[in-house]
Symmetry: C2
């Protein structure tokens, strides 16, 4: 590549998280980097956008790049604002993460990290969401950084088909413990929810959403959950056509 | 049906909106209805869930049913809480809406209305999101109510395949102006965004997200946008596997 690619970096953990710091350190080696990320944690925001309130954008000095901004909105807001207001042109790549914690399987629809990547795909920009399967603030991102570099460089060469982004999850551990990179599909799985009921000082109940992740496809070796369980990096191509095409004919027979 | 079905009603415009009132009035005719809806507008919340703060649930007296609650969270939170905390068993049907404004095409991923339905599908409950293509607080829901009744009763008979919900959009206007009900796919479309920049009293900029909807498939008669433009009700079956299955082989050839 003669010209350095223009790369937008965002996330859902907020502009000051160690994960986005690791991501910026990788991509600034080969790209012109603009950071525009939420000013506070936005985990679990899914594809939320801010339409009932206003948005603020502030210049920041968190990272070792010239152009960096925090935004009061969601990860999807960040991508929209970057493309429509901040960047001089459509970027060559959008990277989101590195998320503190897995976004495998069904988490793709709850994840702010991945929604930023999906929004990038909607804008026809090659986009990748990266997550490390380690929630700790002290997580070791060294292996993840090597994986991020390899995947970003490959995507910059190959580009991406219209409307596709990548959901990359990286197992916890040292680089030489990782067995390789698997192209996968999203496992069928779900959260078995519980509501943790507590009582405030005046005796009124309040709740924390919590739950247990359950994989309905134990043993299927082509899923992201299997890959991660077996110490592979999982790469799932993600698209945003939610239509259940295979059921259209059956529904037509209902004669609604 | 001998036994009256158990029906959960939610929405994203908030428990007091005219749209949910219309929806409750329809389904209470043939079902045992529980309402659990956001305590404030939650439009554009997508599949957001509340994991960084607590949730409150309050009994309400807005509708003509015994069991009704507002929740401080998102539409998806409402479905999770209803199933895990409030309802005596999994409901036979979840209905979300009637949304004030269309949720056709790509709006399925931004819409709180539809995310509640998708969450229902994840929980293996037949689920439907209803939207009327009229943003007005004074919108006429009479035609929509007839459509809702027909579709709900049909879904209760046919049930729904695992992981499928319906995205139903209803054109504005009188019942006899509606030409019929079309089973469709989600049109390829997007929002061409603009940021409306304004200045607060101290001269600092703030922004409103705004945009223009653009259909990339003008003339395709099998899309929801075409159906609505031509005064049909659109019914799109929606699923939550985001995997771009058709690109997996191409990605494998990258040798990551």
């Amino acid at each position: 590549m003669e010209k350095r690619p223009l790369i937008l970096v965002t996330n859902d953990d907020g502009i000051s998280s160690p994960g986005i710091k690791a991501l910026v350190e990788v991509v600034e080696k080969f790209g012109d980097v603009v950071v525009l990320a939420p000013d506070k944690p936005q985990s679990g925001m899914g594809h939320a956008i801010t339409i009932n309130s206003t948005l603020r954008i502030n210049k920041e000095k968190v990272h070792n790049v010239t152009e960096q901004y925090s935004c009061s909105g969601t990860p999807v807001d960040c991508v929209k604002i970057a493309i429509n207001k901040i960047l001089p042109r459509k970027p060559d790549l959008i990277v989101s993460g590195i998320n503190h914690g897995s976004n495998m399987s069904i988490n793709v629809i709850y994840s702010g990290t991945m929604s930023a990547a999906v929004e990038g795909a909607l804008e026809e920009v090659p986009s990748i969401g990266f997550s490390l399967c380690d929630y700790s603030i002290d997580a070791d991102f060294s292996a993840a950084k090597a994986i991020v570099e390899k995947i970003c460089k490959t995507v910059l060469v190959h580009k991406m088909a219209y409307g596709i982004c990548l959901n990359v999850n990286i197992p916890k551990g040292k680089f030489d413990e990782i067995k390789g990179i698997k192209i996968c599909r999203q496992a069928k799985a779900n959260w078995i929810e519980e509501l943790d009921e507590r009582f405030d000082p005046s005796g009124k109940p309040y709740y924390w959403l919590t739950g247990k992740f359950v994989n309905f496809e134990e043993g299927c070796t082509d899923t992201d959950v299997w890959a991660l369980d077996n110490n592979y990096v999982s790469v799932v191509p993600v698209q945003f056509d939610m239509t259940a095409h295979h059921t259209i004919d059956a529904l037509k027979s209902w004669n609604l």
